[in-house]
């Protein structure tokens, strides 16, 4: 329960009175607030059509100039010596960087600084690699990577500290990543541990960036890189062990952050990771101990976790597909329970399906209800097929099953109606 101050309570009281007077529901207010927020967000960045067309031509012109320069360099590359090669790559990159700094220092030319920095970001490392290739013997690419990316990362970081352009932070982090990958390769470090350390650092940095309005636009790319590195590290240690489920806890934690702090990219990534976690069966454990019930117990725990996460996700402003989560989660949990019981006690699992139906009413979820009813029918069919098939009572059993299914359908329709009415 959220605690409100006296002033906030007064405000809420007024809002409720206005809602009653104007026949508005909570959903209407929420929708209007979301639209207002959206308008406020886009308001500051709104640009006129003329300016947009001007920008489009500017980008196209810039791209053509860059493409022309690249083709020209490629054409004359074999005919020129080492020094010209370095001058046209590193020289161009460094000049672009100096131009970027000069533009950034003057408010009138500030907008021109960004394309100059982009050019510098591409050409400087290229130029440094050419310099190494032309003048320094040796073919250690990892050492070369360290030598190139370390000074560039420092350069971009210092420039970012001075001018606070978010793009400079992006370049600093990308160079830093390049340096880190080269460092791991050069010293032949444990890749799993390196991925975990690097992924955790990057993920925490990106989370921090997400919390700061100014740097939010940079987070999508970093969330992709950070989560891939982070989960590569996590799976290096827990993958194919019975501790595989820790990965699900981590994904759900990130999902919670994504919803609460409104990161659409992280939200989509988490959805993909969760789908991946449940596709192909629960868990992936192997190497710690050989327990017969490993998959079943994992299905019960992770399935229940999915139902709870789906229930929480109802609050999300994004498309959450929470009914699908709750349906899959309930099916996993009940399926796991059914397989967990020894044959003689399998009818008890049918009782658990009954508990799930009760839970569906509490959670007001028709998806849980549908999964519970379907599971109950499946259990009865599977159990009777296993124990009564090929007996004289089998046809009678089939008829009884038909009646059960009809009853289950009737029950589903009634309970579903109740859930709809109470929701």
């Amino acid at each position: 329960m959220t605690v409100f101050s006296a002033a906030q309570k007064d405000g809420l009281e007024q809002i409720l009175r206005l809602m009653d007077a104007n026949n508005l529901s909570g959903a209407d207010v929420k929708k209007a607030a979301a639209e207002r927020k959206k308008e406020q967000k886009s308001g500051g960045n709104e640009i006129s059509k003329g300016e947009m067309i001007m920008r489009l031509f500017a980008y196209m012109g810039g791209a053509l100039i860059f493409a022309g320069l690249s083709v020209f360099i490629e054409t004359i590359w074999d005919d020129i010596g080492s020094l010209p090669r370095v001058i046209i790559t590193l020289g161009t990159g460094f000049t672009a960087y100096i131009c970027g700094v000069v533009f950034a220092l003057d408010k009138r030319f500030e907008k021109a600084a960004t394309p100059a920095f982009i050019l510098a970001f591409i050409m400087q490392p290229m130029g440094l690699f050419v310099l190494l290739d032309e003048y320094f013997p040796g073919d250690n690419a990892a050492l070369g990577g360290m030598v190139v990316f370390a000074p560039l990362a420092i350069q971009q970081l210092l420039t970012f500290i001075k001018f606070r352009f978010s793009s400079l932070l992006l370049y600093s982090l990308l160079y830093l990543l390049g340096f880190a990958f080269s460092f791991v390769e050069y010293f032949d470090l444990d890749r799993g541990a390196s991925s975990l350390v690097l992924g955790t650092f990057l993920l925490l940095s990106t989370i921090n960036m997400q919390l700061k309005e100014k740097f939010r636009e940079l987070t999508p790319l970093f969330f992709v890189i950070a989560t891939v590195l982070f989960f590569s590290g996590v799976y290096y240690f827990v993958g194919r062990t019975v501790f595989d489920s820790i990965a699900l806890s981590l994904i759900l934690s990130l999902l919670g952050f994504a919803v609460l702090k409104e990161s659409k990219t992280l939200y989509v990534l988490c959805m993909i990771y969760i789908a991946g976690y449940f596709c192909g069966g629960p868990g992936g454990g192997w190497s710690n101990f050989d327990w017969h019930f490993y998959n079943q117990v994992t299905a019960v725990f992770t399935g229940t976790s999915l139902v709870l996460a789906g229930q929480w996700l109802r609050r999300s402003n994004y498309i959450s597909l929470h009914p699908l989560w709750m349906f899959v989660g309930t099916s996993f949990a009940l399926g796991g329970l059914y397989s967990l019981f020894p044959v003689a006690l399998q009818p008890v699992a049918i009782g658990f399906a009954g508990i799930a139906i009760y839970a569906a009413l509490l959670l007001k979820s028709r998806a849980v209800l549908a999964a519970a009813v379907l599971s109950m029918i499946s259990f009865i069919v599977a159990y009777s097929a296993e124990h009564f098939a090929n007996t004289i009572g089998w046809p009678i059993m089939l008829m009884a099953l038909g009646i059960i299914i009809l009853g289950a359908g009737f029950m589903f329709a009634r309970l579903s109606g109740r859930i709809k009415a109470s929701a």
């Binding site: 799993g192 992936g284 490993y294 229930q311 929480w312």
Partner: protein, 189 residues
């Protein structure tokens, strides 16, 4: 904090449940490690091995490990040379036994001192109650398949008894040679 937890209790429980499961498994793994005695019987395995495609053939007969070799025939292609290993328990260290290719034509029986002249049995479970478990099992979710490519737990084999699994790794072993690995027999010298 308390208010946050109360507001988001479903999410907190969703996060806690899989973590709790890992704790349950950790305790169970510890319990079986304490309650099930250590393995005590060394054993032989062969990796990179195709039953029919290899010029080396292995089988256990009359409590002896037989290693046979057939010379190459014209127009018949053979798989790469298999690798024979003795796994020392309980340390679970592996020792490769070199397979020398004999010269001449026809089929030959290869004698390897310390391998073909000792008592070996092929039963499951073995004398100490442990059974061989191959790590190459299909399945696992997509996340595991995608992200645990470099996992230190990938490409391991092991022996299991009453829920306890003791694993080992072949040096330079990859998924490919594990897929073609065979358990040969227990050493009962």
């Amino acid at each position: 904090m308390k208010a946050f937890l109360k507001d988001n209790i479903a999410l907190v429980a969703a996060i806690a449940l899989p973590a709790l499961l890992a704790v349950v498994f950790a305790i169970s793994a510890m319990a079986v490690r304490v309650s099930v005695e250590d393995p005590s019987t060394d054993f032989f395995i062969v990796t990179d091995y195709y039953d029919n495609g290899s010029r080396f053939q292995f089988d256990v007969n009359n409590e002896r490990l037989n290693v046979n070799y057939r010379a190459a025939e014209k127009d018949v292609s053979y798989s790469a040379k298999p690798r024979l290993w003795r796994v020392n328990v309980p340390e679970m260290t592996v020792q490769e036994i070199s397979l020398n290719t004999p010269g001449g034509d026809g089929a030959k029986t290869i004698d390897i001192p310390g391998v073909t002249d000792i008592k070996v049995i092929n039963v499951s479970p073995g004398p100490d109650g442990y059974s061989f478990v191959d790590s190459y099992r299909p399945g696992g979710n997509i996340m595991t398949e995608v992200f645990s490519m470099d996992s230190q737990h990938r490409n391991r084999s092991g022996i299991a008894k009453d829920g306890r699994l003791v694993s080992f790794k072949i040096p330079d072993g990859n998924n490919y040679n594990y897929y073609n690995s065979r358990f040969l027999g227990w050493v009962v010298e």
